[in-house]
C-alpha cells in the first residue's frame, strides 16, 4: 500500500503533464492532418513519421502513452502507432546516452542498439497484419472521436 502511494506520488506530476500535453496536441493536430501523415493509408511515410516521433518523444511512459492515445484517436493508423511505440521502447536516444552507455559501457550499448535498430520497422510492418488476424478487418478502429469533429469546421476561415 505504501509502495503504491510512493509510485503514485512519483508519477502523478509527469502523468498530469503528459495528459495535459496529449489534450492540447489533439486540439492542435487536426484529424485530417494526422490521417495524412500517420494514417493507415500514409504507407511508408506514415511508418517513418511514427518511428521518428517515437524516438524523439521525451519523458517516461506517463508522457508517451497519453500522446500515443491522442494520436490514435486523431486517426493515426496501427502500423505507424506500432512504429511509434516500438521506437520509443527500443531506440530511446535519451535513455541510451544517459543510462546505457555509462552503466554498460559503449561497446555493449552500441552493439545492443545496432541489434535492435531493425525492430521498429519490423513491428510497424507486421503489426497491422497481426492486428487484422487477431481482431478481423472490422476490428480496425474507426476512431470514433474523430468522426463528430470532422462534421464541424475545425478552423474558422478568416
Amino acid at each position: 500500500m505504501e509502495g503504491t502511494w510512493r509510485l503514485l506520488l512519483g508519477a502523478a506530476p509527469d502523468l498530469l503533464i503528459g495528459i495535459g500535453l496529449a489534450g492540447m496536441l489533439q486540439v492542435l493536430l487536426p484529424p485530417d492532418m494526422v490521417g495524412r501523415w500517420m494514417g493507415d493509408e500514409a504507407g511508408l511515410l506514415g511508418l517513418s513519421v511514427g518511428m521518428a516521433a517515437g524516438a524523439l518523444t521525451p519523458g517516461g511512459p506517463y508522457v508517451m502513452f497519453p500522446i500515443a492515445a491522442a494520436l490514435m484517436s486523431s486517426g493515426a493508423g496501427i502500423g505507424p502507432m506500432a512504429g511509434f511505440v516500438t521506437a520509443r521502447n527500443v531506440v530511446t536516444i535519451n535513455r541510451f546516452l544517459v543510462w546505457e552507455v555509462p552503466f554498460l559501457g559503449a561497446p555493449f550499448a552500441f552493439a545492443r542498439l545496432l541489434a535492435c535498430v531493425v525492430m521498429p520497422p519490423i513491428a510497424a510492418v507486421l503489426l497491422p497484419a497481426v492486428y487484422r488476424l487477431l481482431h478481423g478487418k472490422s476490428g480496425v478502429q474507426q476512431h470514433p472521436s474523430s468522426v463528430p469533429e470532422t462534421d464541424a469546421p475545425r478552423e474558422e476561415v478568416p
Binding site: E2, G3, T4, R6, L7, L8, D14, L16, I17, G18, I19, G20, L21, A22, G23, M24, L25, Q26, V27, L28, P58, G59, G60, P61, Y62, V63, F65, P66, A68, A69, A70, M72, M81, A82, T86, N89, V90, R95, W99, E100, F103, L104, F108, F110, A111, R112, L114, A115, C116, M119, I122, A123, L127, V130, Y131, L134, H135, G139, Q141, E155
Partner: protein, 164 residues
Amino acid sequence: MIEAVLGGLLVTAILFVMAKRGAAGVQEGARVSYGMLRSVAAQILIGMALAAMTQVVLPTEIISRWMGAGSGILGIVIGMAAGAIVPGGPYVVLPLAGSVMASGAGVGAMAAFITAWSVTPLTRTLMWELPFLGGRFTAARLLVTLPFPVIAGLLTPPIFDLLR
C-alpha cells in the same frame, strides 16, 4: 529536470493552442485531457498497486541472482524472463544490469534482459499501454514484439565482439 522540460513543452503547447484556436481551444484540450484521465485513472491505480507488489515480492537481488545462473540460450531465456518482470525505471534497471554484467553475466543474456525490459515489460504494459491504447492494439503489439529479446540476445554478442 525532466519535469521542467515537459512543463515547458506543455506551456508551449498551450500557447500554440491559444494562438491558433483561442481560449475555446484550450478549454477543448483540457476537456480531452480530463476525459482521458477519467478513462484511465482506475486502471492506472490497479497497475500501480501491482507494480508496488512486484517490487516487494521481487527485490532486485533475486533478479541479479537469476541472471548469474545461465549462459548461452538458457541465459537468453532467463534474461528475457527477468527483464519482463523486473520492476522499475532506467535509474533502477540499468545500474542493476551494469552490476550483474560486471559480475560475469553473458552479453547475450544482458541484451535479452534489457530488450525484454524495454519491449515486453509486464507492469508497464498493464499499467500504461493497456489503459491508453486498448486491449486490441496491446495484444497485437505484444505478440509481434515477443521474439525481440531473443533476437537481441542472439545478435548482440557477435556485434559486441566486432566493436570491442
